[in-house]
Symmetry: C3
Subunit: 332 residues, 3 copies
Amino acid sequence: MITKTLAELAVILGGEVVGDGSVSIRGVAGIREALPGDITFLANSRYEPYLLETSASAVICSREPRRATMVPLLQVDNPYLAFQRVVRVFRPDPYRPETGVHPSAVVSPEAEVGAEVSIGAQCVIERGAKIGADTFFFPHVILRDECQVGKRCIMHPGVVIGSDGFGFAFDSGRYHKVPQVGNVVIGDDVEVGANTTIDRATTDSTRIGDGTKIDNLVQIGHNVVVGSHSIIVAQVGISGSTELEDYVTLGGQAGLIGHIRIGTRAIVGGKSGVTKSVPPDGVVIGYPALPQAVFKRLNAFIQRLPQLFQRTKDLEQRVGALERQPVREEVP
Amino acid sequence: MITKTLAELAVILGGEVVGDGSVSIRGVAGIREALPGDITFLANSRYEPYLLETSASAVICSREPRRATMVPLLQVDNPYLAFQRVVRVFRPDPYRPETGVHPSAVVSPEAEVGAEVSIGAQCVIERGAKIGADTFFFPHVILRDECQVGKRCIMHPGVVIGSDGFGFAFDSGRYHKVPQVGNVVIGDDVEVGANTTIDRATTDSTRIGDGTKIDNLVQIGHNVVVGSHSIIVAQVGISGSTELEDYVTLGGQAGLIGHIRIGTRAIVGGKSGVTKSVPPDGVVIGYPALPQAVFKRLNAFIQRLPQLFQRTKDLEQRVGALERQPVREEVP
Amino acid sequence: MITKTLAELAVILGGEVVGDGSVSIRGVAGIREALPGDITFLANSRYEPYLLETSASAVICSREPRRATMVPLLQVDNPYLAFQRVVRVFRPDPYRPETGVHPSAVVSPEAEVGAEVSIGAQCVIERGAKIGADTFFFPHVILRDECQVGKRCIMHPGVVIGSDGFGFAFDSGRYHKVPQVGNVVIGDDVEVGANTTIDRATTDSTRIGDGTKIDNLVQIGHNVVVGSHSIIVAQVGISGSTELEDYVTLGGQAGLIGHIRIGTRAIVGGKSGVTKSVPPDGVVIGYPALPQAVFKRLNAFIQRLPQLFQRTKDLEQRVGALERQPVREEVP
């Protein structure tokens, strides 16, 4: 078991101790579950009240001023990042599948697999597929023919890369399949969540940029282009040919129609239905998605509709009363 | 083939026959598809009209008074439960995978597997995983390292338990992975639907309580706690660290943000987006989710908006007419 | 490499050349990615501006009149269908899994597999399942016991057919599983997208009609009936016992409650929540779903709510001013 004093951790994380730096830390845990000997972290202000009742021996938090607490604090620039580092101090070697190809995986001899790659149990890597160095495939990942995954990527269980795009031409009372002869190209340092599906392009490529992180059960349609360093939360759906620039965030269960463009650093709220392009730095929400300020304003007005109906009814009565007053003769 | 009279079934189910109890029953079917010799059931009042036209030889229904029908009735306390029992009378041994580990499954020698467990084709059970007695894994289930499933559970095909939580820290223009070193702990008598994903905790455990039933394609984020005897319908998404108490019902495609609490017996309507905690026995719906009564009231007002605009226009004309009347002199 | 003149392609596709028919075509590509030597197509008017800047050597488009372009056009009745055909001219043999059963697949000896069927790596076909001739199963497809798939179907990776329907009876504080003893019956020429799940019926059959195309991550509940030649876009959820007639279109992420009926040629907008039956040729959208015209009208009124509140406030002031005028004496 690894043990560090809080002061030692402060050096490792580049932070400052408020309180007793000599306390011994032996593990990490969530703020509600932590026991004596654990360090925890406070990144979300909802959990601020737990500062008073946590059993943790220390708490990583931001540098903003804070009321005095019993528990020693370790103040840092980015608590979540510091927490990530401290996890590695106490659990330096979390479980990962071994490097190499699991004997139950089916890897085409015509696929190209980089150095230090791990391909988990029952993965299927088809002909012409390429996998960059240091990439991990958990079990049950499917990489279809001619599709590419970059370096240092992580593909979680059940991911399907390169399934056919959903393209049909209607003629004479039935749908005819449009051959999907493009591929999928995924950059470096990309993570894709469990059971997510990324369709191959009709022609050309469906693309995911470097450093982008995709959660579970996401659907990415054919010819979609996702930029670099973007976040796509669980159960999002992106329709064909839509393009995301870099540093975009899509909240959970959001849906984007096809053939639109989401600008750099734009944020789409969870569950939103986006029906037109969003400019860089735009923040949209709702269905159909509107700029966040407009959405909130309209939503506040909707909450006040019952009163508005009542006010209108009152006005009608007051105007009726005025109208029932006898009409004056014209001033001559 | 098994044959019972309706009177015999009434004894088995603890119900009462209305009509001819001597009729022979040889099978079960839906009310629209049933043929002579079948027994069917009426649990949803939408199907009441089918009572008059079903070809079934008998219908299981509730004890409430009912107009006379041609078809004999078997009145019980809980028609759906009675139907379940009668299915077992006529199909005592529905197909289930055999007990034991299918030769194509990959089970770590460091996993603990209880008695009478069935592990289907191509499942992957990683090291440190634990499976309780009498649990069934259909094919293609993945149970990652250190995760636990209780007794008498059913895991449907494609379920992923213990994939990494979606946690990243943003620093210097890119996202850094926060190691997910917790696990998933699933209680007894839990059922999890096809291709559903349950992420492991960042630290500590993602938890599913005893007797909870989860449908297909559901996403459960890291550190979520689901209580006992709850129902989570298909395509629901629950974000990280949200907690459900017991006997909660989440309708299909509902989405819950992270770090909130859903009280005992609360009901979340299908497709709702829940952005704050719900008290025990609360019923919420819509996006953002509101108490059902408020949602319905606001929705009714929205439907009447066209009239409200017209009424306002009328008022403006009437007030204009009043204003155009000559101003009287002040009463002295 | 295959080379055709544009005039030769016009004969193959039954179209008319506008411009130079002698130009040589050697491949196909999207309008933005096309290089000299490629033919592309214009089916979506959003891309009309690209006509002026594409590097393609020719463009397939509709027969409607069009401003003069530098690039030669090939005018046809259905550009998307023509594009599909031209893809086959230049890529006559896109990759498909080989006919036969992959050695890693697990196929019950009690399953019936038709002629010229391809069953990909790690598929599981249980006892009593039936697969029609010329059907392709990509890797990791699960066809559970007694379920049927017709001829010339395509099942994409991770599809689960025949998982248990989500049926429980609540009694004495817990949910009891209702045995799901029906099956799934899929017609001919059906395509099912990656990681989609189709549950078996409680009794009888969940049915998918001929020629219907289903996208990725769709959930189809027990006893659902989908008609022929319908389109179900990604992440749609259909609750138990709902019926779709023929030629229905469901937009992405739409959700349908159980026990309703969607009429022939009806269209459900993306992300809609459908809570009651839709007549033939109906077009509904929103949540709760309304006829498209009503939805658009109400939505326009909602956008104008801020002004309506202001107009009401103005009216209140004007009526107040009128009321403050001295009351006249009654006309005698």
